[in-house]
């Protein structure tokens, strides 16, 4: 019986170690990837897109999976970051890091403004509000020609670190990888702090959160602001990777893409976000020749995942382990019957009312 109780703890520990190992392997592969494919411009472009979209998906998952909010307008935030990059870079000669931070900060401010009304809306009302935002941003860009270049957009000037041109595939790849890695570290750090706990508290129980001193409306605004900041950073990479920032790059299907990537990858999962985005980028690349069908494939992917694998790809290993391991999990009622008094004496799964 002791063994039965020890098992979940041991499994969790093994899970943490294997996840650490997996992180190192993936990071190592990502670091050496350009040594093999660096000369292939189109492959590098796709790889950078995976990193960019991975970051937006992660930012959206922070909002949806950890914050319990919904947005189908995150393409609009990516657009704000990309336009900020292009506008600042065409007018001022600033170091790349300044432009990058500006892209993040300006997008965060826009996200804060979006979060103000959104903080008062729930579920599908919020979905519609964010959808409106996502559709409006490229339209606004189209009509603010003097700032955004209107229909033709803005060509992004080449930033340099020393003599290295950052919009070359290999340097940009490493910049994107660095930004993504730092963002993952930052998001993990936020999630382990009071701010992150507040996000999850609002997600899990909006009604009891105020009793813990949580200002729910304010927390939602913070969720939108933080998520938007990371979208802005992704917008910087997006602008450099495309070379030009134009309204047509930010269609509604881009927002749909991020939403789908979160669902496919799995809510409240950092790895799931990155895997979901990578998978869908590849699927889209492969389905380009099918024309309008690529959006239908996204929609189908969401439906299939919701039906067959709720929890997304990230939850699959655990679900599979659960299927294989079978019935070690104690039945919830059994634990209730034994009661907290018996914690030290008997494992909850073995409890019965008689023992209490």
């Amino acid at each position: 019986m002791l063994l039965r109780r020890a098992r979940p703890v041991a499994a969790a520990r093994a899970g943490a170690t294997s996840q650490k190992a997996a992180t190192l392997v993936v990071l190592a592969v990502a670091l050496v990837f350009p040594l093999f494919e660096g000369a292939n411009v189109s492959v590098m472009g796709i790889a950078i897109e995976v990193l960019t979209y991975g970051l937006v998906t992660l930012a959206l998952n922070l909002l949806m999976g950890y914050g319990g909010q919904v947005s189908i307008g995150h393409g609009g935030l990516l657009a704000v970051g990309a336009y900020t990059t292009a506008i600042v870079a065409t007018r001022f000669r600033l170091p790349f890091i300044v432009v990058l931070v500006l892209a993040g900060v300006v997008t965060a401010v826009v996200g804060l403004l979006l979060g103000l009304p959104a903080g008062r809306l729930r579920s599908h009302y919020l979905a519609v509000a964010t959808l409106g935002f996502g559709v409006a941003v490229p339209q606004i860009a189209l009509n603010l020609g003097s700032l955004t270049g209107g229909f033709t957009g803005l060509i992004v000037p080449t930033p340099y670190i020393g003599t290295i041109a950052l919009n070359e595939p290999v340097p940009l790849y490493y910049v994107a990888l660095g930004i993504l890695a730092l963002s993952v570290v930052a998001i993990r750090s936020i999630l382990a702090s009071p701010t992150g706990r507040r996000f999850m508290a609002v997600r899990d129980s909006e009604d009891t959160a105020p009793a813990m001193g949580i200002n729910v409306g304010r927390t939602k605004v913070v969720i939108f602001t933080v998520s938007s900041f990371f979208c802005g950073l992704a917008g910087y990479v997006f602008a450099l990777n495309n070379g030009i920032v134009e309204p047509d790059s930010f269609t509604f299907s881009l927002s749909l893409f991020f939403f789908a990537a979160v669902i496919v990858g799995g809510l409240a999962s950092i790895w799931g976000s990155l895997i979901g985005a990578a998978l869908l980028v590849v699927v889209q690349q492969e389905s380009v020749s099918l024309g309008g069908f690529s959006e239908a494939i996204l929609g189908a992917a969401v439906v299939v995942m919701l039906l067959l694998a709720p929890g997304g790809l990230a939850a699959l290993p655990r679900r599979l382990r659960g299927l294989v391991a079978g019935a070690w999990r104690p039945h919830p009622e059994a634990v209730s019957a034994a009661g907290p008094l018996d914690q030290h004496r008997a494992p909850p799964s073995a409890g019965s009312p008689g023992e209490g």
């Binding site: 750090s189 009071p194 009793a211 813990m212 914690q343 030290h344």
Partner: protein, 259 residues
Amino acid sequence: MLRIEDLSLSFGGVQAIDALHLTVPDGTITALIGPNGAGKTSVLNVVNGLYRPQRGCVLHDGFDLLSLPSYRVIQRGITRSFQNVALFGGLSVIDNLILGFDHRSRTGVVRDLLRTRALRAHERAARIRAEEVLEFLGITAIARRRADELAFGERKLVDLGRALMPRPNLVLLDEPAAGLVEAQKAWLAQVLSRIPDEFGAAVLVIDHDMRLVLGVSTWVVVMDFGRKIAEGTPDEVRANPVVLAAYLGGGPAGAAQGQ
């Protein structure tokens, strides 16, 4: 000390609380009992800032609680548990508890991100405090479990634990014993009766289990149809015919007969 004076609350045409006077002295356990729909939970919701009454005042050490938004009531040292035990299901037990402590952290996103010294000190203090509360409740073994995987009895204790985290001076408990089996109720009674001494907190508890409530409390207030129909020591209330009528007769007619 909590003082409720002339409190009235109605929803549309329904009078939930009717001219209620109630005092909870420091360091005591006061029970609020009455049949279903008597308005007991509404009283907690008013104290907690969730409902705004039409009339009356709620004073905590002379401070007007009704001037505070709900999320700031905890800053006065007032915490509560919930009838429906809405834990933060996706979080571990220890994180649920720490959330009951987090209002003390005045840090924002940026400082949380940079893990400043103040934040690290807060996290350490929160963890130590959580371990004390877990031990007090006898649930140290479930500290790392996810809240939504817990059994009902364990959830109730975690909910209570959240309310004890910030060293409160007043704890509002909404049916802490509901749904528990006898052994768990005995443990709960023991835990409850130790709260005033070990935490220096007063308790205002609602529950339907008379044996538990009358066993732990020093003062009992009986409500029916939003009004206070009796109060006294547990022994006085036990012997009061008005109270018996309210419970057995279940209507204002029954209560009137008792008088």
